[in-house]
């Protein structure tokens, strides 16, 4: 296989990691809304935790995206 083609295919495969981030972020916000609708009084106090969870879930997917950036432009 051409090295250039392998690089592009590898970058594409690495970007699949964002699917996991999508599932995680959706799960976090979905669960937050569910909890917030059941107990709106407690919703405000948990907003900080919501964004921390969002950031952590997103970071794992972004590591995969970073690999594809490195493959495309760094190597």
């Amino acid at each position: 296989m051409e090295p250039e083609a392998a690089k592009l295919i590898g970058a594409g495969i690495a970007a699949v990691a964002m699917a996991g981030a999508g599932v995680g972020i959706g799960n976090i916000f979905g669960s937050y809304l569910q909890g917030a609708l059941r107990n709106p009084a407690a919703a405000d106090s948990q907003r900080t935790n919501l964004f921390i969870g969002f950031a952590l879930a997103e970071a794992t997917g972004l590591f995969g995206l970073l690999i594809s950036f490195i493959l495309l432009f760094g190597v």
Binding site: T48, A55, L56, A59, L65
Partner: protein, 257 residues
């Protein structure tokens, strides 16, 4: 909007969404063997500091705030509440640092979106990993040094959460250490990848607007929506960076969690 004009300045419809991230020297400075040139990245950093300072300093004299002043007061109050919620009263002395960090990142993210298309080529400072890694490294090294200064070797209790069964410790301590070491990486990569991916996406879609001619009105409408989304992401990422910095400094303040 900025991306369409930069597309035009390249001429033609060549899809080169990475052109916007190029660094060019404005004033070349050689400092020994080190290239310390004043680049377009430095220029946008200076512009960010000027814009943020102007927002927070101008017109803060009135008792009944003007519109500009109330924006500045909202930012101050927002960060003030966040610092109090995450770090408690002990964390008050870190408030200026967190406010500066938040304002700088927010300003850099926003100015990358609302550039002056004719005068200056738009450039986002935070879309380069070296900038975000320097910011995240500053927070991480600062929090670690402060933790050891305040608690001495007691800071190492951070790696062994209280209430852990001793059998679990050989498994848990390496995990905690790895998670601690990956903090600056995840903090910087999150901001960098969000900014870079977002701006590349805007530019790729902007190419469709030009390529479709009159039918490009439809993707243009979508572009407006996406620009709004990017504004939201610019704010959210600055907020997430600030709140995670608060969490890390909070770990240095109270290591036994």
């Amino acid at each position: 909007m900025a991306s369409t004009t930069s597309q035009g300045s390249e001429g033609g419809l060549a899809l080169d969404p990475m052109h916007q991230f190029e660094i060019s020297r404005i004033i070349p400075i050689k400092f020994g063997g080190i290239d310390a040139s004043f680049t377009n990245s430095s220029l946008w950093m200076v512009l960010t500091v000027v814009a943020v300072s102007a927002l927070l300093l101008l017109g803060t004299k009135r008792i009944v705030p003007s519109r500009l002043q109330s924006v500045g007061e909202m930012i101050y109050e927002f960060i003030s509440n966040m610092v109090r919620d995450t770090m408690g009263d002990e964390g008050r002395k870190f408030f200026p640092f967190i406010l500066t960090l938040f304002c700088f990142i927010l300003g850099a993210n926003m100015l990358g979106l609302f550039a002056l298309p004719v005068l200056l080529h738009p450039f986002t400072v935070t879309s380069h990993i070296i900038v975000t890694f320097a910011l995240a490294g500053l927070v991480w090294v600062g929090a670690t040094v402060f933790g050891f200064y305040k608690h001495g070797l007691g800071y190492l209790k951070l790696f062994a959460p209280s209430g852990t069964p001793p059998v679990m410790l050989p498994l848990l301590v390496p995990i905690e250490i790895i998670s601690y070491l990956s903090r600056p990486v995840s903090l910087s990569v999150r901001l960098f990848a969000n900014m870079m991916a977002g701006h590349t996406m805007l530019k790729v879609f902007a190419t469709f607007v030009v390529a479709l001619g009159w039918a490009g009105v439809i993707p243009l409408a979508v572009m407006v929506g996406f620009t709004g989304l990017e504004v939201l992401i610019a704010f959210l990422q600055a907020f997430v960076f600030a709140i995670l910095s608060c969490m890390y400094i909070n770990d240095a303040l109270h290591p036994s969690h």
